[in-house]
């Protein structure tokens, strides 16, 4: 296996983008990444695109050729593949693209992710999101997607003493970071009180504990490390790309205060990269709900299991903290167009490692981690990137 680098990034503004279609978003993010990488269309060997439920959100499947057509590359007939892994669709697409380049099957690969969630009404979106849970044995009985994380939150509170205030601090931090990100959906600060006083979705999770419905797309361009310098001055090396699985249902797990697939993917990634959690300078983690970020910083080894809540009180993961987490605003405030999220996370870490993150730049960030989860933890992907 050879070394692989990210040589280009692109991303649309995230939000309720009523004036743009799914295709418009894919074209915009893809064109930006290709321009950033300085490649020609004819150099692209393959494309991958992550999308969670475009069939339900916009009635459109078969995203591979859609991406090729909007990019104007149909006459090259290059392979283009859609990847679905719920919220981890983007991360799994990046993993597949990494394997393709590392294995020398392809040289230049464009990886995108996109979702258009606001073309349906909110209740329909809630129903669509239930499809990432176990339809027959969870959703059939009335469980919603947020309700699964709510049960993890309740269990975490019971077992480790985590509080509603500590969870709210995740949302407060991520909103504060998003004020510094021009592409974020919510560029305004919120208070702990605002989170705790917002309407309940599934107790103990309030609406401001939840990531929003978002439209958006993101893309990155991969190349073999040995060729990366020919294209860009600051290639960012992928030093680990690991994916792990678990049961589709939450009730099938042995524990409810953790995402075991996250621990597995992270442990393999640290081993592959030859580093420890304390070597990470900046991380984008999958905060689909506030409790998810608390579990993530534990599962990724930044703190011990059960101490994620306390880490929020201590400011460990704030922009000026020891390990800044979700400098982009995270899923909570940058926004969560489901299929795009894993690639948007990669955009942020590349910006940080290039020292191009502007006002939210983590000083001298050299090693960054990306953590992307599908469903209630049935899929987890961890990438570790390094500035060479």
């Amino acid at each position: 296996m050879r070394d692989v680098a990210i040589i280009g990034i692109g991303m649309t503004k995230f939000g309720e983008i009523w004036e743009k279609s799914f295709r418009d978003l894919v074209a915009e993010a893809g064109a930006e990444a290709i321009h950033d990488a300085g490649i020609e269309g004819a150099e692209i060997d393959a494309m991958y695109i992550g999308g969670m439920s475009t069939g339900r959100f916009i009635g459109q499947e078969h995203l591979g050729p859609l991406a090729i057509e909007v990019a104007g590359l149909e006459e090259l007939h290059i392979p283009s593949t859609r990847i679905e892994a719920s919220g981890a669709s983007g991360g799994v697409a990046l993993h597949q693209a990494y394997l393709a380049v590392a294995s020398e099957a392809y040289d230049i690969v464009v990886v995108g992710g996109a979702e258009k969630m606001t073309d349906v009404i909110e209740m329909e979106a809630t129903e669509i999101l239930s499809s990432v849970a176990d339809r027959e044995w969870e959703a059939f009985f009335g469980a919603t997607f947020p309700s699964l994380y709510a049960m993890m939150a309740r269990y975490h509170m019971h077992k480790h003493g985590t509080t509603n205030e500590q969870m709210a601090k995740v949302a407060v931090k991520n909103h504060a970071n998003a004020t510094l990100n021009p592409k974020a959906q919510f560029r305004r600060e919120i208070s702990v009180e605002a989170v705790l006083n917002s309407p309940m979705v599934a107790e103990p999770l309030h609406v401001l504990d939840c990531s929003p419905m978002t439209d958006g797309a993101a893309a990155v361009v991969l190349a073999p490390m040995e060729k990366a310098k020919d294209y860009c001055d600051k290639p960012i090396k992928i030093i680990a790309s690991e994916q792990a699985s678990d049961t589709l249902s939450l009730h099938g797990r042995k524990r409810f205060d953790s995402i075991p697939a996250s621990m597995e993917a992270a442990n393999k990634a640290y081993k592959k990269a030859g580093i420890k959690p304390s070597d990470i300078d900046v991380a984008e983690v999958h905060d689909c709900f506030t409790i998810a970020e608390i579990m993530a910083i534990e599962d990724l080894g930044f703190v011990k299991k059960g101490e994620g809540g306390k880490a929020m009180d201590d400011g460990l993961t704030e922009l000026k903290g020891e390990i800044p987490v979700n400098t982009s605003g995270g899923l909570k405030a940058r926004g969560h167009p489901i299929g795009a999220t894993g690639i948007a996370q990669a955009n942020e870490i590349v910006l940080q490692l290039r020292q191009e993150a502007g006002e939210r730049q983590v000083k001298d960030a050299r090693i960054g981690l990306i953590h992307n989860v599908g469903g209630a933890g049935g899929t987890a992907v961890v990438h570790i990137l390094e500035e060479i």
Partner: protein, 135 residues
């Protein structure tokens, strides 16, 4: 939902018929066709097994934002229940105040209406859980 999709799950959803691995004896619900511990040795040896229906709440939530099929029913309680046989099941907790629900609460399964396919479609039934007298 098409009728066969509902009809084929009736034994499990009406009577909590799970599976017992004929090799190691472990009990599974929802039913599985392969035991994750015995894997290939268990193929063809998974036997039907009716759960007693009693268990303990592992975690729970009160849902305030329902999907369309459950609109108007909110708020309602959903829990993961660890059955006495060792497997965990997701279902609604009924017939008690939300304030009574707690982790460790003893519950027993009962047969109830779950949802319906619009005003004219079939009615779907299955299990829910209520507080056990032992709690």
């Amino acid at each position: 939902m098409g009728v066969p999709r509902y009809w084929r799950e009736i034994p499990q959803r009406y009577n909590l018929i799970g599976k017992k691995c004929g090799v190691c004896g472990k009990i599974y619900f929802p039913p599985r066709s392969i035991c994750p511990q015995c894997r290939r040795k268990s193929i063809g040896k998974m036997e039907d097994y009716k759960l007693k229906g009693t268990g303990v709440v592992e975690s729970y939530t009160i849902i305030h934002t329902p999907p369309p099929e459950f609109e108007g029913k909110e708020p309602y309680a959903i829990a993961i229940v660890k059955m006495d046989e060792g497997c965990c099941v997701t279902g609604e907790i009924i017939d008690c105040d939300f304030s009574e629900i707690h982790i460790g609460m003893k519950v027993k399964a009962c047969f109830r209406r779950i949802q319906e396919d619009g005003e004219r479609g079939i009615i779907y039934y299955g299990y829910k859980f209520k507080k056990s007298e032992e709690d």
